[in-house]
Each structure stands twice: as C-alpha cells, then as structure tokens.
Symmetry: D2
Subunit: 339 residues, 4 copies
C-alpha cells in the first residue's frame, strides 16, 4: 500500500478523489489538504459532501492539512484537484520535494517534459518521467487531460489504425464540469450556453499531444487538425459529444474496430472492463443519465456510428474525465514501476 | 383581408398558428379544423391551451370543423399543422379544391413542383406555384422546411456570396419540437438524447433544395455536402446549432457580411426587423432562453464566429421554425400576388 | 429459496422489482410476466431498461410469460406492478390459485381483509392473511401503500407515542411516480403541477388504515384527520413533503424520539440500517438528489423539525415507495411464516 | 411625470424595475444607481441584461450614478432593489434628503412607522407616511413585502370577510427569488431544497402587519397564527404555495367570494385587470410556467379550492412579488397624493 494524499480535497473533484480512494486496493488515503480556512479541522466537519454516494465515514476524522509538502511528509503521491491558478506553483513544490503528483489541473499539461496521459491511449508517454528526473527533480508531475478531451481521445483510440487528420467535435457538457458553484441555475436552466472558457483551445491542443509520439525525450504532436465547438447543457454529469473524423472506411469496419479493440494496458484496479462501450443496435444511445455510470463511471460510451464518419461519444466528466483519470494514471505509474 | 383556416388547430404548432393569426393585419382567421373528436365544439372548449401568452378569447367560440375542403368553403388559404402521415393526402385535397395550402408538414417538401421556401432565402422558388397550376390544379401547396433546417439556411443566407460546399452541423434541439406530449420528462430530464428520427436526413436534403436554383420549372439542388448530427437537450423552446462551413474568408469579413446583410424581401408583417441578429461582443450568446423571443420569435441569432469557419445559430423552433415560417410564406404569397 | 415472479415486469416499477430481486438472498426470480405483446420473448429483448444501474444480464434470457396463474405454476409468490385497472381482477385470480401476492397496485388496498402494510409501522396487520384464508382462499393478497403515504407513515412511526390527531401534508413529488411516460417534459419542465389524480384521497384514507388497530378480524381506523395537498415538481426520483402534526412536545423531545426509535421488526434483507434518518444539524436537508439513495433507497429521511410541529420528510418513491415496499412486505411474510 | 431613479439597477430585481419603468405613463426614469464599480459608465455597458424581454435601448446611454442622494438630485422618488444589509442605511439617507423611497428590501419592513403595503390589501396603511413626516422627515419610506408573503396576502384578501385565525402555508419557490447567482445549478437541478433562510419568519411576521389595522399612528397586528414551510424547487419564475386557512364556509361560498371580489383601489397603471384570478374548472392550475405572466406578471392566480379549507396560489415572484409590487406602491402614493 502506498500512502497518498489529495490536494484540494473539499471541492467537487476533490470529493470524487476521496470517493475513489476511500477503499482503494493499492493506495492508502492518509492525508487530505485544503485551504487554510479548513486546515486543522476534521475533514467531516469542513467538507460539504455533495455526492450521491454516502460519505465515507472512516475518513471523517482525518485532520485537514495545509497544502504544503512539509505538512504531508508521510505520502509518496498526491492527487491534485487544485484550481489552475494555484496548481502551477504548488505542484512544482511537491514534485521538487520528491513527491509524485497526479494532477487534474491544466497548469502543467502542455509542458514538454510533463506526460499528459490517458492509460488506454498513450501509456508510453510516462517515459517523460525519466526526463523530469534527469533534470534533477526528485518527484515528478503527471497530468490527465481536460474532461472533454479524455472522452474524445478514448473514443478515438480504437480508430488509430485508420488514417485520419481532420476532427470536428461539438460538445454538450455537464454543469458539474464547472464545479459545485460554477454555473448559476438562472444561467443554465431551460438553456444552452454555447461557450466554455478555454475549453475549445484545450481540446484542440491536448489531443495533439496525447495522440502524438514520444521520440527520445520529446513528444512529436499528432498531425491532426482538431476544430471544437463547446457548449454547456442542463445535465448534471456526463459530457456528450458529436464527432466527425475523416475516416474513409465503412461503418461496419469501424464498428468492428471498436468491438475488436484491446487497450494497451490491463489490470489497473480503476480500469473498467470496457474502456469503450459501443452501442450498435440502440440508435438513441449513449445518453448521459443512463450511461454515465457504466464501468463505475470509467467507461466511455460510443454510439451512432454513421457514414461521414460521425459518431457520438459520452462519459462521466468528474469520474472518467477528472478524478478517475488521475487515479488511473497513478495506478499506471505504480504498475510501470515509476514509484 | 383574406379568410384563412388552420388544419390541426389544437396541437402544439396549431396553437402557435392561432396565436400568430388572431390579430393578423392581412389574414382573417375564420376557421379552425381538427380531428373528429373535436369537430362541432367551440375551440375554447376543446383546446388545452399550453402557450404562455393568454388564450385569444375572441376565437374561443369558433366551432371547430372537420378537416375537409367542403367544411371550409369560406377560406382562400389554410395553414397545415397536420402530422406528416395525414398531411400528404389531406393537403392534396385542399389544393385540388382550389385552396392555397401553407404547410408545416414534411410530406410534400421534397416534391419537385412544391416550393420549399424561407422568404429571406429563396423567395423566387414560389415560381413553382405556376408549375402546379400549369398541371391543372386550382389551388397549390407551399411548404416551409423542418425547424432545424430553417435556422441553418437563414443563418447561411448572408454567406452565400462566399464560396462553400461543405457544411457540418450539430444541433441541440428543444423538446417542444416533438409536440406537447412528444418527449417524456423521464426521457430528457438531466439528459441528452443523441437522436431525432429523420431529422438529420431532413437537414441534409432540404438544405440543398432551398439553397438550390430555380431553372425553368425545376429546382437544381445546391452543390453542397451537408452532414448533420441531431440531439435533443432539456430546453423548452429554441434550437441551438454549431455549424462549420468551409469558407476561407476571415472572421471580420464574415461578420461584415452579416452586418451588411439585407434580405431579398421586406415589408411582410411577420418579418422581424432583423432576420439574422449577429452577436459580436458577447462570447456566450446566442442562448435559447435569452434570445429565442428576439423579433417576436422570428429572428435567427448567430454568434461566436470563429476561424474554421465555425459559428453558433439559434432560433425559436415553433415560431420561426414552424408556425411563423408558414405565416411568413403566406404573406410572401400575398405580396407576390399568387393569391 | 422461494421462487417468485413479477407481474408487469417491463414497466417502471416492474424494472425496479427486477433490480431488487436479481440477487435476493431469500427469493429466486424465476418468472417475469408482461402483456401479450411481450409474452414468449426473452426479457432482455422486450424490456427497454431505463434504470441507471446496469441491466442484470443473467435474467436477459428468461422468456416472458402471460399474466395468468397457469403460466406461472412454479412460483409461490408474485409481486404485482400492474396498473390498478387490471390488478383488481388479476390479483384475485392469483390469490385464488394459491399464490401469495405482494401488490404495489391500489386496487385492493382498502379492502377490509387485505393487509395494507409497512413493516416498520404495522407488521401485525399481516394477521388479516388468516382472515383471507378462513374465507377459503388458498393464497392471499398483501398490499403496500401509495408512495407518498409510505414516506409519511414511516416518518410518523417514531411519533406514535405522542398524542396527535391532525395532520397536514403538502407534497413535492417526483416525475417517476407517474411511470416512464406518465409526465410529458413540456408539462413539468420549469413548472409545478399542483394536482395528482386521487393522490390526496389515497394519502388521507390509507394513512388511517395503516395507523389503525387490528381488533379481531378487523382494522379500526386511526382517529386522525389527514389533509393533503399534492404537487408534482421537476425532480426525477424522491418525494419530498412538508408535514404539520399537532404534537405539543418540544422539538428536542421529538428529535429524541427519532434518535431513540427502534422499528418493531428487524432482520429483513431489504430493510435499511435506518428506517428513518434524522437530520439535526443540516438545516437544508433532506434533499431528494442527495438523500434519496440513503439505505439503498429504503431509508426515509426527516429533517427541519420545528415548533408547530413541522418537519420535512423525503424518500425514494420507486424504491421505498413502490417496489422496495412490496419486497419488504414479502420478506416480512416469510419471516412471520405466512409462507 | 415624476422623475424617478432605481437603486441597485443592475441586479435581478433592478433589471425588472428598469423593464417596468422604461415606458411608464406616470414616471420618468431618469436615474440609475449602482455600485461604485459601475458608476460613471453607461447603463448599457455595465448591465448584463438577463431578462427575456428586449433591453430597452433608450436608456442604454444613461450614465450610472453612485447610490447617494446628492448624486440623484433631480428625482422625487427612488425604487430600491438594494440588498438588505446595505438598504437599511442608504434608504434612511434618501428619505432624510426629502426623497420618497419605495423599497423591495426587507430592512425597514417591520419598523412601526414604515408602511408595509400591498395596494389591493392594505392601502390605508400609507397613513403611516404622515407619522414619518410628523417625526420631521422630509421624505419617507414605503415597503412591499417579501415575494412569498405578497402572493399569500393577495390571495387571502378576498377571504377577509370570513373568520379565520390559523394559516398554514407550504411554498414551492422559484430560483429567481435568490437573484441571478443566488442558487447554483448543481444545488437545485433534479432537486428540492427544503430551506430558504429567514423566509418562513418573514411570511409569519409580515402577514400579521399587512393584514393588521391602522389605529391612530400604529398598526395593530392581525390576530392570526401563520405557520410556513418554505422550499426551493427547479422553476425559473413563479412561487407556488399550498395554503390551509380555517374558514368554515363551503367551497362554493369561497369561490363566490373570489369571483365577486373588488380590490379597494383601482386605476393604477401597473394594476392588472384581475388582482386575483380564480381557476374553477381546471383542476391542475395554477402552474408557474403557464400562469406567471397573467396580467403582465401582476395577477396572483388561485385554484384548487377544496374543503379544509385548502387552495393553491401562485404569482410571478420578481414582478408581482418584487419590482412590480414597489411600482404599484409608488402609483398608489401618487394617487393618494402623498407625492
């Protein structure tokens, strides 16, 4: 068992980390860190638990710590649910202090020596950890992509054997993606908001890095064009997206690629039985309310493969698209013996 | 004043017709027709008025008629809000009986001699009325497109001066598009349904006809490729759509085209001051709840023009996209002296 | 293990029965019955699974049967999720054929010899089974109350030691209470419907029977006045209700009664650890989205106890309020050795 | 024409004031005041217009002022949409400076010399203005009640001829009542929040003052007991409430009282044709989405009168329940020649 901590443990993604780690077979959740306002108090007293699963009582008494490496000396790995503006600096400090950081924040994602990883898509990018270590760092930082990007690249993974260079994606994203208080009810109820700050840029740049190739000490970006249009819809959890990709093969061939697909890794505890679930006979699936909890929230669902080539992808944005993604990365790190 | 009637006056689109015609300056709403169950009873007794505007009391006492030409001898024009499976036959009978039919149903839209018209886009297609008359019919049928198609072609109209052939569109459509009882609350609440039967096919075929060219007695389809992905979202009224079109001009040039745009017709009572409203400074608009009633529900709003070329379009699906579209066509028919 | 079947297995409550019985420790779900349209086909082919839990694949192949006792000879007990208009007759036939019927339908609830039972409230009413048997029936019928009534009587159970006779209740009920297609999205979205047919009457009459006393072969109604006002709100699952009851004791005394409460039965597999959960420190709880799955959907949550005496109660209407209630009754029947 | 201003003109209620005053026949909206951040800039530049009606362009250029009497010397009356914590002090300053204040804030409502008025219920309470003036003030303050209280007392007004002393009310309140950003989407979507801070206390105390009697220079509270239970539901606009009142008369007698009802004032521009609309034949009305705009948002709708005596009342919380209430009070002040 590896001792782990969560940075930013009281927020929306932080609570998902706690939920996923409370009974983890490889990780022992010993430390919860949050803002100074909460530090020193029992987690159960300061967290306003907003998940639909019961609060894990056994960690209610853990005293919340400050977000500093010195306060968290017993942990070997931290999960970061920090806001981007804080994460940049703080995560560097933890990595410098010899701690492995699995971050859901966007701050370090595009740094050349930081792996931006989805285990089913580019596990070999963990090789950049060595580059960080070679540069003299004791710990390291590994990031997972933006929630929308994760759904798309996971859905594209089985299609890599086909040739394509042009991707269009229109997203219909859930309100939980903005955190508990991020979207006012008056703003989104009976409405669509056709704009999410920096989301399109993230989908367009992160996808090229993730689907790129590790050559020596560098990632060569994938030679794609990605054009995204991102929208918020009145859904609690689950990002849905309509994707076009310029694959010339038939629908049958593409469906077969999904059905035959074997992810490049297996045996991680948080990994679902199916990384990608394909709907072939139900024309109206996937749907976020009915399908987001597939694979305990870790399966990306794909359906409506039509000529064009068009399909619909959907996954749980705060599990597969955030906390679960980081936990899966941490498991990969352990399996690949970087820790 | 021209005496008009509404076929299918008690349903969702039928009620919108009644709302728009109750005080119309050119049309005198004398006749309301509905299924046999309602025939013979006062409209106010049989309609379950579900619009947010007050019920127009002055027509409450009008006795509902059967949907037959013989029951509606005093009208020169009927608006059809009939379901497609009934409309095919019934609308033919009315046209054969010498009555002008402005139909919102899909049944006749793709017939070669039936105009499929959006006044701001292809008013000259009304020329097909003469083709119908030459074939010996006393009346005629004019149709308006599917609600999603209307928003898209109206938003594309100012861009016709640019060269383009490839259109991708992902829609986020309102529940009212399926009628009052068309979507169960359990199906759409906290959900997205990524499928609307035949909607993609309609957007793909109707667009080519509308943006095509009347040559002699025939429409030559526009040389486009349209690829649509249609989705239902939890919004009451207002279809939003993300559009890609392969225009090479800059965002500024395209925005100027919208700002300079003058529709090819003017002076129709139901026509809004702006057929297309462009948002340039608000990155999060248009939004259905805030913008659907612009121009009394007849303006299509466009925003977020970005390189790609990408934009977002939105309009009120049961006003601009259905009843209002038919009424506008009827006004065009009168102005062009086909009646 | 007792072989059991479900009548009306494809509907909203029927699917909940299947979900609860698929892995039941005492019951072996062998038989699924539905309308003639489905009979003879595998359950997995005819059911349109709408629950958020995964479909229990192991029963996908079970062939659906007709709803007749002769088609279900291997079962000793059936759960009825039939609509009221069918249930009256069909349930009698099953009981006459020697089968125990646990019904969620309203048809037989108010019959003098049929127990209307919530195990935590009036388990002794099962004594009426003997009255049914004495009248010559081989099987018997046991019913559970209407979903709203269940929440209220379960919340009132810990208060029986206080004197009260006047109950007012205003409900805010979920859309799932009307079945999958029972409420149109256009009817309830951004809305409250202040009327649910026969719901107030059910709450007012059923409560008196459940909280009444079995004397000899008859139930003497509780000497209460219940006045209900029932409303539908845009919530998927979970009925919330504001209750006034003329108890003179202090809030502290009443809270203590909840905290000290021990239900009159224990050891039933579907019974939650807490029949009633009391919120004392969170002024804004219970909330349906956050609290409906407490006790796997079987716990009724109570909060906001204020002078008056006023409180708020909430529970999952299709689990605790329907299928789970029937299963709990069946478990009580087994434990009390009526089967 | 009387020159008027709005304090707090950019918020939710402030925007409603602007909407109602832009074309008012008696009031000339000359001044808009808001926080220092906005002061000095054109209103059109600083307001984020969130209403569904078009922004009144003619006031877009008005420069926003600071919220001080000296900045607003040309106005005789101000409408206050200030938050309660600011309103107490600021409104006193305006009244001291000789300006009439019509306030929607709660700060002064319960002060003995400040009228708390709904024109259809207690117009004679304006007599307290003289008490304020006798105390040496040049201007005066008049308040309107909390949004929920307004709906209830307006619905009770026609029943005053009957004897009653016990009122129970359970509310289902709209999210707009908390302002644009007051309720997070994650908090209320698919949910009911059974708590609104201080709302129950306001309904219980304000009702007694409004329905009390002005004797000399004081209000004698009405001899009622009011017991409220307040809940937030996922509705944009429109507060619905279930009311019990211990009237012994029959439903028919009570319905006749509503139908015969004549409010004690008439001829105010913002007053609707019907202060209270009674539904007698539609068992499922009033509903917020369908009925909130009745009387341009100023009519309170009542329905489902049943023995008990029970009924349902509903009205638009930011029009009748806030800005419209203040404007109506100002009109009453003018008509009664206090200005």
């Amino acid at each position: 068992m590896i001792n782990v901590g969560v940075l930013g443990a009281t927020g929306a993604v932080g609570q998902r980390f706690v939920e996923l780690l409370a009974d983890h077979p490889w990780f022992n959740l010993t430390t919860l860190a949050a803002s100074e306002r909460s530090a020193g108090k029992p987690y159960g007293d300061v967290v306003n638990w907003r998940l639909e699963t019961p609060f894990p009582e056994k960690i209610a008494k853990i005293k919340v710590k400050n977000i500093t490496p010195s306060a968290m000396k017993d942990v070997d790995l931290v999960f970061s649910a920090l806001p981007a503006e804080i994460a940049l600096d703080v995560e560097n400090k933890f990595a410098d202090a010899g701690i492995a950081v699995c971050s859901n924040a966007s701050s370090h994602r595009m740094e050349p020596t930081v792996p931006l990883v989805v285990p089913e898509v580019n596990p070999e990018h963990l090789g950049l950890i060595d580059v960080q270590r070679d540069a003299g760092r004791d710990g390291f930082i590994v990031t997972n992509p933006n929630c929308s990007t994760i759904m798309m690249v996971t859905a594209l993974a089985p299609l890599r054997k086909f040739k394509f260079t042009d991707i269009r994606v229109a997203t219909m994203q859930a309100i939980s993606g903005a955190g508990f208080a991020g979207v006012a009810a008056m703003a989104i109820y009976d409405n669509v908001i056709p704009y999410i700050g920096k989301e399109e840029e993230k989908m367009e740049s992160e996808t090229l890095k993730i689907m790129g190739t590790l050559k020596g000490k560098k990632i060569a970006n994938a030679p794609f064009r990605v054009s995204a249009s991102c929208h918020r819809v009145p859904v609690i959890d689950g990002h849905t997206m309509a994707v076009w990709v310029d694959i010339k093969e038939s629908v049958e061939t593409v469906e077969k690629a999904y059905l035959d697909y074997k992810p490049p890794i297996k045996g991680l505890p948080t990994q679902p039985k199916e990384s990608v679930h394909l709907f072939t006979d139900e024309p109206d699936r996937p749907q976020p309310r009915l399908d987001r909890m597939r694979g305990r929230g870790m399966t990306v669902s794909v359906g409506r493969i039509r000529p064009g080539l068009r399909f619909v992808a959907m996954g749980h944005n705060t599990i597969r698209g955030a906390a679960g993604a980081s936990v899966l990365n941490a498991e990969l790190i352990v399996k690949k013996k970087y820790l």
